[in-house]
């Protein structure tokens, strides 16, 4: 098992190199020059060239063939991609073109916001989705089954921006229970090691801070949870239904075991495998940043940040952000694979 994990981690390296290359080249294939995007409509040719030079954008993308022709070997490697990989090798993600802030620094601030939001959404989705799926499966074709499946279908197909605006309308504008957006009220400050405000405020014993952070995160978390919640409920239900028809369940019931014991001890564990896969995929998607939710609720996460950077052609942010997102997907998949082995004794990794 340990060897398997180590091998998997090593195999991540070529994947990530591939990702850097694809992202690097693809964003440069989109027309539009970062220097023009930065300088705006009345920039002179000189200024544009100077900024391009400053950020190395005047160099060839991948290897300089012309330099090779003249026998200049160091010139051959002096290209945007090679320079980028060289910096990346000592974990330097570069600086934002527009604000010259190191990408890593902003990531440290923004990624925890995304993690906090997606974790809470995932917890909501799991806590509601799985029980709903189990109940539906155990009372197949009953009224409760129909209601919860229609409900989960609505959840899956709900446009997030609409749901988000309706939440704000009801809870912030009409009832005035919750703030309409942001991560904290002005004047509040929560410091701590995790940068997850809910966790940090509890660790600091800062109850007012916890309340404020919670009031800000509830609406976006619920909005973000609807889709995975629906998917998890439906997946749990169908997986449970499959398992409940197995012979061993009938045997267990024939032995006279109670319905609840059969359901949770015997059926659920075996039905969990596809559900875990789905949860893993959904968690990856959420962590990759929920652009719409972050926009509607002014949530300072990475989704909106990378999105704005793509529009502004801020290459270092796009590169740093997508690399992190790729890393998350790889890590989540790894965790899911390991969970398989724990859940299903038949799966063994060598």
């Amino acid at each position: 098992m340990t060897r398997y994990i180590i091998r998997r981690i090593i195999s991540v390296i070529p994947t990530l190199i591939g990702v850097t290359f694809v992202i690097f080249m693809f964003q440069r294939l989109i027309p539009g020059d970062p220097a023009i995007a930065m300088l705006g409509e009345h920039a002179t040719e000189d200024s544009i060239n100077r900024i391009r030079e400053q950020f190395g954008l005047n160099r060839p993308l991948f290897l300089d063939r012309e330099a090779l022709a003249t026998g200049d070997l160091s010139g051959f490697f002096d290209s945007q991609y090679v320079n980028y990989m060289e910096r990346l090798s000592h974990l330097d993600l570069g600086e934002s073109i527009h604000r010259r802030i190191p990408v890593l620094e902003t990531l440290k601030l923004r990624f925890p916001a995304t993690v906090e939001l997606s974790l809470l959404s995932m917890i909501i989705a799991i806590l509601i989705g799985i029980p709903v799926g189990i109940i539906s499966a155990s009372r197949r074709n009953s009224l409760i089954d129909s209601v919860s499946m229609v409900g989960s279908l609505i959840g899956v197909s709900m446009p997030i921006f609409w749901l988000g605006l309706m939440e704000i309308m009801l809870l912030a504008v009409i009832l005035k229970w919750l703030p309409a957006g942001g991560r904290l009220s002005t004047g509040f400050e929560i410091n701590g090691i995790t940068h997850l405000y809910l966790v940090d405020s509890l660790l600091n014993g800062d109850l007012a801070g916890f309340k404020d952070a919670l009031s800000h995160i509830i609406m976006p978390a619920v909005a973000l949870a609807t889709i995975p919640m629906g998917i998890i409920a439906r997946m749990t239900r169908s997986s449970m239904l499959d398992v409940l028809q197995e012979d061993y369940i009938r045997t267990a019931r024939a032995k006279g075991l109670g319905g609840r014991l059969v359901l949770f001890r015997h059926a659920l564990k075996n039905a969990a495998l596809p559900v875990v896969t789905i949860i893993g995929l959904q968690a990856g998607t959420l962590l990759a940043g929920a652009v719409l939710t972050e926009t509607i609720f002014s949530w300072p996460g990475i989704g909106r940040w990378v999105y704005d950077a793509i529009l502004g052609r801020d290459y270092p942010i796009v590169q740093g952000g997508t690399l992190l997102i790729a890393l998350i997907f790889v890590a989540v998949n790894l965790i899911v694979d390991i969970l398989y082995a724990l859940l299903d004794p038949r799966i063994r990794y060598k």
């Binding site: 539009g32 023009i36 002179t44 010259r100 802030i101 504008v173 300072p300």
Partner: protein
């Protein structure tokens, strides 16, 4: 086996990206960009080019209308407006294809290279309230092309002009107006230019749009400015000592000399002050940090008396040295605080260039509170330029301390203005607090600029009380705000113009009758009624009515599809126009 498959996919991916990388367009080296070298051999190659011309001329392209990929004041919903224009044009015999050329940087890039081949939507927001800033920027020639005193000898270089439209007579008049110190003479010249452009149908001017701002009724004292940052200093909020203002995007940097976006100036305009400022609610320059600036006889020297006893927020004195420090930093590319990573774009653009190219050739200290600006030529809009947010005076000590990081979120900016910078949480909010020692009287509330990117969410945040004022709301929300007792709407008078440009490299558009036919085909009042709500008005000339020099006597093109068809027929297209030809010589009249 799955492992093999995995490695196979990875290697395929990498190979694929290698191929892509090899095909990717190589960036143009700096040297190749110089157009002068290409211009010279062009004459020699003329016969060959003509032969090619016939070949290319046979090739037709569909008549295309490019709509903007982003919303701007002057085009609140570009796609829908484009569709409406296309429908109007179809009604008059123009079979137009609507096209999205890419996102905003792509669109600007294509426009810059002159490759939006057809009709395209664009607009302009004024920088300093002077007609020169509208007309000369679009229709004037750069100093390199103004060869000698005889306009006939001026270099047209249509490839440098927007839409390939080069009009030497207009450019000459604009040049004359830009150096004439006599204000009333200038006014007449700009009116003349507007008429020339109108007669030539150089563009179809579409709309000016006043900007609505929505406030909670607890807020009073906010003054929207047609040019420059709004005045926040008089704001009072009933029952609160903080005013939270919601906006769609974050500032880029807080050093106004190196940025070009309104969201940056909105903040720096409260913290820093220029020597002049604009009178509240108008575009007229009035004294700020200077008590007065007076020109010599031919307005090539301006002597400014500075306000005494003013201190920067860091406690250092504002005086002639501070003014000279700032202007020298902007002007000289070898100044230690003029960093390579920074582009002092507005200095270059408003003052003609850096170093020797700068119109300001010296900023001299007469005494501690008097400076003299020496100009290389009379510059009529001098005070209007001086009052721009970009030329606000920063504390030299703060710039020396922060170096290249001055204006970044970690440092903010240090000036003499009514508010002091407190903090900037990137992407979230910027906080400023009253400067108790402000010479004009201290403000009473802290101001927080909060970023809420989504228009609807921002409006809901206002209704929920999270914020007390905002800019940019959808038309439906504005109507709701007008009807809501707890809210009210202020408008910022328009200093912008949306237009429809013709690419003059298209042969058919070189005929003024075709351009006029397009002008008569589009129902602009209909566009205003449908897309601008109560805040827009039809533009009949490039200058918005607010600016002096606006000629109200110009007779606008009426909406008349019949007349349009008739003009099109006269131009030789009785069956309408669906395909156009690119002129391979790119020469315009």
């Amino acid at each position: 086996m799955s492992k093999k498959l995995f490695y196979l996919i990875i290697s395929l991916l990498m190979a694929g990206s290698l191929v892509l990388g090899a095909c990717a367009p190589k960036p143009t080296p700096v040297e190749e960009a110089a157009p002068a070298e290409e211009a010279a051999p062009a004459e020699e190659a003329a016969p060959a080019e003509e032969a090619q011309a016939e070949e290319v001329a046979a090739e037709k392209i569909p008549l295309t209308l490019y709509y903007m990929p982003v919303t701007r004041f002057y085009y609140p919903s570009p796609k829908e407006i484009g569709e409406a224009m296309a429908a109007d044009l179809a009604n008059a015999g123009f079979d137009v294809q609507l096209e999205l050329a890419g996102d905003w940087p792509t669109y600007l890039g294509l426009r810059r290279e002159g490759n939006l081949d057809g009709l395209y939507m664009l607009g302009w927001g004024g920088d300093n309230g002077d007609p020169d800033n509208f007309l000369n920027y679009f229709f004037g020639f750069s100093s390199a092309d103004k060869v000698g005193d005889d306009p006939a000898a001026w270099v047209k270089s249509p490839e440098k002009r927007e839409g390939w439209y080069a009009n030497t007579d207009v450019a000459y008049l604009l040049y004359q107006a830009s150096i004439n110190p006599d204000q009333s003479a200038r006014e007449e010249m700009y009116k003349q230019v507007e008429n020339m452009l109108h007669d030539d149908v150089a563009r179809l001017w579409v709309a000016h749009n006043n900007t609505p701002l929505v406030f909670s009724s607890a807020v009073s004292g906010y003054v929207p400015q047609p040019v420059g940052a709004d005045y926040f200093e008089g704001v009072k909020v009933e029952g609160s000592d903080t005013f939270v203002f919601g906006r769609g995007g974050d500032s880029v940097q807080l050093d106004p000399a190196v940025v070009t976006d309104g969201e940056s100036f909105r903040v720096t305009g409260q913290v820093l002050e220029p020597l002049y400022q604009y009178e509240p609610g108008s575009t007229k320059p009035i004294p700020a940090l200077a008590e007065s600036c007076t020109p010599n006889e031919n307005s090539t020297e301006w002597t400014c008396t500075l306000r005494q006893g003013v201190k920067f927020h860091d406690g250092t004195d504002f005086n002639a040295d501070a003014v000279i420090f700032n202007f020298d930093r902007w002007r000289f590319t070898d100044n230690p605080y003029h960093y390579d990573s920074q582009v002092f774009e507005y200095y270059e653009y408003m003052w003609g260039g850096f170093d020797d190219a700068s119109v300001i050739t010296a900023v001299e200290k007469v005494d501690d509170y008097t400076v003299k600006f020496v100009l290389s030529q009379p510059l009529a809009p001098f005070l209007a330029n001086l009052a721009m947010d970009m030329f606000a005076i920063s504390s030299p000590a703060a710039i020396e301390a922060a170096g290249e990081d001055y204006g970044l979120p970690s440092n903010g900016c240090v000036g003499t203005g009514p508010f002091k910078f407190v903090e900037w949480v990137e992407g979230d909010h910027i906080t400023i607090t009253p400067n108790e020692d402000y010479w004009g009287g201290a403000p009473t509330v802290d101001v927080v600029f909060r970023v809420i990117a989504d228009d609807s969410a921002r409006f809901l945040a206002l209704k929920a009380g999270d914020i007390q004022g905002l800019e940019q709301a959808v038309v439906e929300d504005l109507a709701a705000a007008e009807a809501d007792d707890a809210l009210y709407v202020l408008t910022r008078p328009a200093l912008n113009t949306g237009y429809l440009a013709f690419s003059y490299k298209i042969v058919e558009f070189q005929d003024v009758r075709v351009r006029e036919a397009i002008a008569h085909a589009i129902n602009r009042q209909g566009l205003i009624d449908n897309f601008y709500g109560a805040y827009g008005e039809v533009a009949k000339t490039f200058l918005p009515p607010l600016i002096w020099g606006y000629d109200d006597t110009i007779e606008d093109w009426e909406y008349n599809p019949e007349l349009s068809r008739q003009l099109l027929a006269e131009a030789g297209f009785p069956d309408g126009l669906s395909e156009v030809t690119i002129d391979p010589t790119f020469v315009t009249e």
